[in-house]
């Protein structure tokens, strides 16, 4: 069926419009790209760039949508297809082109066993077992009888890969396949995908917002913005010497273990520049100095009169277990065992660990959302107004019907109105939000703006301790970059003590003075962030380090 030299995916002049709104939204604008057999092409871009729409279109997932119009041609494995009509997709979708989706939790039917799903595709139980072995699942017999919720995220994604590859497709669309996974699991899944691609010789369209992943996986990359392809070429060229300003900014925003910690990260960013100017401590030619790499965080450090020393946070022998189960057969699951953790005054500590390691439980205990079963929790409240938390999902942590101004003023209720307004203004300026936004509601803001509102609310009265729970992991790279810069600015300017919970070592290294690694409810090591990559010795820590893509 496929012609020898043709690509398994040929897209030419593809434009896709969503007409449900007036004016129609042009999601994809005149995009052309080709994926050759055995080749991995990365489609890179931030949210709203149109990359996922292309992904859905080439799998024929837009044919049932009523408000979609398209121009241009799409050819999958030699078959010309209309992305808006069902005709012709039969036998192509699910056979010649298959997909690995982002979130393996919701992408597998919770009411069906893995075996039932897989055997529907493979045809026999033996084949299903063979495929589970192929995707490196250790106990395939058990997994075959298991339901998705009984498997870990990594296992579910392996099952998803087995489902997608079992019919031997010519083209595999990988739509953010590792975004919802822990870093060390991500590395395994990427290796598996590469190996299977080489074994089966299928072309891969790899959709991701993560430049590190794209660089590690792809032969060629296409960078998208606002529906257009802004740059394409071999991965090494695009990432090594990006030609377009947008690509340059994206590449500069990417964090690695060798990113300079002393200086703002990424390219000069108007948001962060504004906030820097507001501090009054900024040197004159701010933007140029940043560009030249001559701008150091230390220039924003305020003179502090109080004596150094002492701790803002002390945890000693903290233990926590949760009760699971109902009226009968209750069980206790131990989450933390004897955790000792100190955050010194003005110090920033990153707590690093995988899902289920107990890092979020520590944060919840410090925030007072949970109580420890045993051990001491001490917060030095003389340093500021208690403990404030910035959560991963800022959208969910902001009350939707209150305005930004009201949300910020919540913590200022005993002040006279005039002073309150001024403090709100100041807090918004510190995170470089236009004070005019005080009248908006969270729903009207972008993800990055919402996260900055959450930070502004936390610092409107400087807290003794700022807790951050993966504040950047749900954000686009460039937005995450500004949030990290803003946090760093606040840290130096206000001398905030920060406890930063994350699974991303590269981000931890930027924001923290010290990195604590937690595994199975115990802190296994504490190393200075500056020399993290050499000092980290625990097996678990090394594994996390290896998982960070260079």
């Amino acid at each position: 069926m496929s012609k020898p030299h043709a690509g398994v995916l040929e897209v030419a002049g593809l434009s896709i419009r969503y007409t449900s709104r007036t004016p129609a939204v042009l999601a994809v604008d005149d995009v052309s790209l080709t994926v050759a057999p055995g080749q991995c092409v990365g489609l890179v871009g931030e949210s709203g760039s149109g990359k996922s729409t292309i992904g859905a279109a080439v799998q024929g997932l837009l044919t049932r949508e009523t408000h979609v119009e398209a121009d241009g041609t799409v050819r999958v494995d030699g078959v010309d297809l209309d992305v808006t009509a069902e005709a012709g997709w039969d036998g192509v979708r699910g056979h010649r082109v298959t997909t690995v989706f982002q979130d393996p939790m919701s992408s597998l039917d919770p009411t069906m066993t893995v075996g039932r799903m897989l055997t529907r595709v493979t045809g026999s139980k033996q084949e299903s077992l063979r495929w589970l072995e192929a995707v490196e699942i250790r106990d395939p017999g058990t997994v075959l009888r298991a339901y998705p919720h009984q498997l870990s995220g990594g296992m579910r994604q392996r099952v998803m890969i087995a489902l997608a590859l079992a019919r031997g497709p010519a083209l595999l669309v990988a739509d953010e396949p590792t975004t919802a996974l822990d870093v060390s699991v991500q590395a395994q899944i990427l290796r598996l995908l590469t190996r299977e691609r080489e074994r089966l010789g299928c072309g891969v369209l790899f959709i991701t917002h993560d430049l590190g992943v794209a660089r590690a996986m792809c032969d060629e990359v296409a960078v998208m913005r606002h529906g257009r392809l802004v740059e394409r070429g071999p991965a090494a060229t695009v990432f090594g010497a990006p030609a377009e300003p947008y690509t340059q900014r994206l590449v500069a925003s990417r964090l690695t273990l060798s990113t300079d910690r002393q200086r703002p990260i990424g390219l000069p960013d108007p948001t962060v520049l504004t906030a820097m100017r507001e501090t009054g401590a900024a040197p004159d030619d701010l933007e140029h100095r940043w560009e030249r790499g001559d701008l150091h965080w230390s220039s924003f450090t305020r003179e502090r009169t109080e004596v150094r020393g002492g701790h803002t946070l002390e945890l000693a022998g903290v233990t926590k277990s949760f009760r699971t189960g109902g009226l009968f057969g209750a069980a206790h699951k131990t989450v933390l065992t004897g955790v000792d953790l100190r955050v010194a005054r003005h110090q920033s500590v990153a707590l690093v660990g995988e899902s289920g390691s107990g890092k979020s439980t520590i944060l919840r205990i410090v925030a007072g959302l949970e109580t420890a079963d045993a051990g001491d929790v001490y917060v030095d409240r003389t340093q500021g107004a208690g403990v404030q938390v910035v959560f991963q999902d800022a959208g969910a942590s902001l009350t939707p019907w209150r305005t930004v101004g009201q949300l910020l003023a919540e913590r200022l209720e005993d002040l006279p109105k005039k002073e309150r307004d001024q403090r709100v203004r100041l807090a918004l300026e510190r995170v470089a939000l236009d004070p005019a936004l005080a009248g908006s509601r969270p729903g009207q803001l972008s993800g990055g703006q919402r996260q900055r509102v959450a930070i502004a609310r936390a610092i409107v009265v400087p807290p003794a301790l700022l807790l951050c729970d993966e504040p950047t992991s749900a954000l686009d790279v460039s937005v995450a970059c500004s949030v990290l810069n803003l946090l760093n600015l606040l840290r130096h300017e206000l001398g905030l003590s920060i406890l930063f919970v994350t699974h991303d070592l590269a981000a931890a290294r930027i924001i923290a003075d010290r990195v604590d690694v937690i595994s199975d409810g115990t802190i296994v090591e504490q190393v200075p962030a500056a020399s993290m990559s050499t000092d980290m010795t625990s097996e678990y820590g090394r594994r996390l380090l290896d998982a960070v893509l260079a």
């Binding site: 919701s106 039917d109 339901y147």
Partner: protein, 330 residues
């Protein structure tokens, strides 16, 4: 699954026992049974004698043990209203109410599924229908019942509106007339009983049915827009296979939970519906017992209705566990 079922039944037994205790306490302290029997003007001696006869001078746990043992022997006392043994009264009325309740549940599910289908149609007609039905569902059962009587009996003379049959009590064993008619091969009898059933059952099932339809339609549209449905499509499943294999089962859980709750509401509307349609069931009996301050009978009927509700919800939970593995395995 077995483990879940056993655990659910164990907790059901605990709840049933609590219900027993509660009903016992209400029957002892909810009113004075002696005054009920003897009237307000009885002499002190007579009251004392009656108290001894009824065992009310015994300690409370002895009374409770006595209550349990009489319950086990189905000795439920004498109804003040009819002066007949309560057990005999119940034996006659339980099948009547059971039959009505079963058909009500059946109609609710039928209306639910049919309407859910209408909801998913994208036409102006379905919007209008939705509005009408939504209003209908907001009306209490007695209003729908009265409206039904006016239209189908008074105006159209299509359906009977009083009693369970035009022929007389069934000769079958179950006491459920439609079933008895079918079992004895007496088809006209079954049809007649069914005609008598339609209006009361519909009156009680319209509200729950529409509610069920909304939840079912919501569930279906959510599960058809879900990520796993997208996965299924991307694996080449046809739209009808996606609906059949993934949509229905995932949409069933919230609908089942709702049905469990609705059964409770249905029971209370059946009490009213039985009055309107002169249905000689538990509801009517309950109303008479309340009117006659017959505390013991009221307590017994409450116990029955409560037990029915608790058992139905246990069954719903077990059904949920069958449908959704996360319930039984978590």
């Amino acid at each position: 699954m077995l483990r879940f079922t056993v655990r659910r039944i164990a907790s059901l037994i605990v709840v049933l026992f609590a219900l027993l205790v509660l009903v016992f306490l209400i029957s002892r302290y909810g009113g004075d049974p002696v005054r009920g029997y003897l009237g307000a003007n009885a002499s002190a001696d007579a009251v004392a004698a009656m108290r001894t006869r009824l065992g009310l001078d015994q300690p409370i746990w002895v009374q409770f043990a006595d209550y349990l043992s009489r319950l086990a022997r189905l000795d439920l006392g004498t109804s003040l209203a009819t002066r007949r043994p309560v057990a005999a009264e119940l034996a006659q009325r339980i099948p009547a109410t059971a039959e009505l309740a079963l058909w009500t549940v059946f109609f609710s599910v039928l209306i639910g599924i049919l309407l859910a289908r209408v909801y998913t149609l994208k036409s102006r007609f379905s919007g209008v229908l939705r509005l009408i039905l939504f209003s209908a569902a907001s009306a209490p059962a007695f209003l729908i019942a009265t409206g039904g009587v006016l239209i189908f009996f008074v105006q159209l003379h299509w359906l009977p509106v009083s009693g369970r049959t035009g022929y007389g009590p069934s000769t079958g064993l179950s006491g459920m007339y439609v079933l008895d008619g079918l079992l004895t091969g007496n088809l006209p009898y079954a049809m007649d009983a069914l005609r008598h059933l339609i209006l009361p059952a519909l009156a009680a099932s319209l509200g729950p049915g529409v509610a069920l339809a909304r939840v079912l339609a919501d569930g279906l549209s959510t599960s058809l827009r879900s990520a796993y449905a997208r996965t299924a499509r991307s694996l080449g499943e046809t739209e009808s296979a996606v609906l059949r294999r993934h949509g229905l089962r995932n949409a069933a859980s919230p609908a089942l939970s709702l049905l469990g709750v609705q059964v409770g509401m249905m029971l209370s509307s059946l009490v009213v519906v039985e009055q309107i349609f002169s249905w000689n069931g538990l509801g009517q009996f309950l109303v008479r017992a309340i009117g006659g301050a017959d505390t013991a009978t009221v307590a017994t009927i409450s116990l029955l209705l409560g037990a029915f509700y608790v058992v139905v919800n246990a069954l719903v939970d077990i059904a949920l566990a069958v449908v959704d593995p996360r319930v039984r395995l978590s």
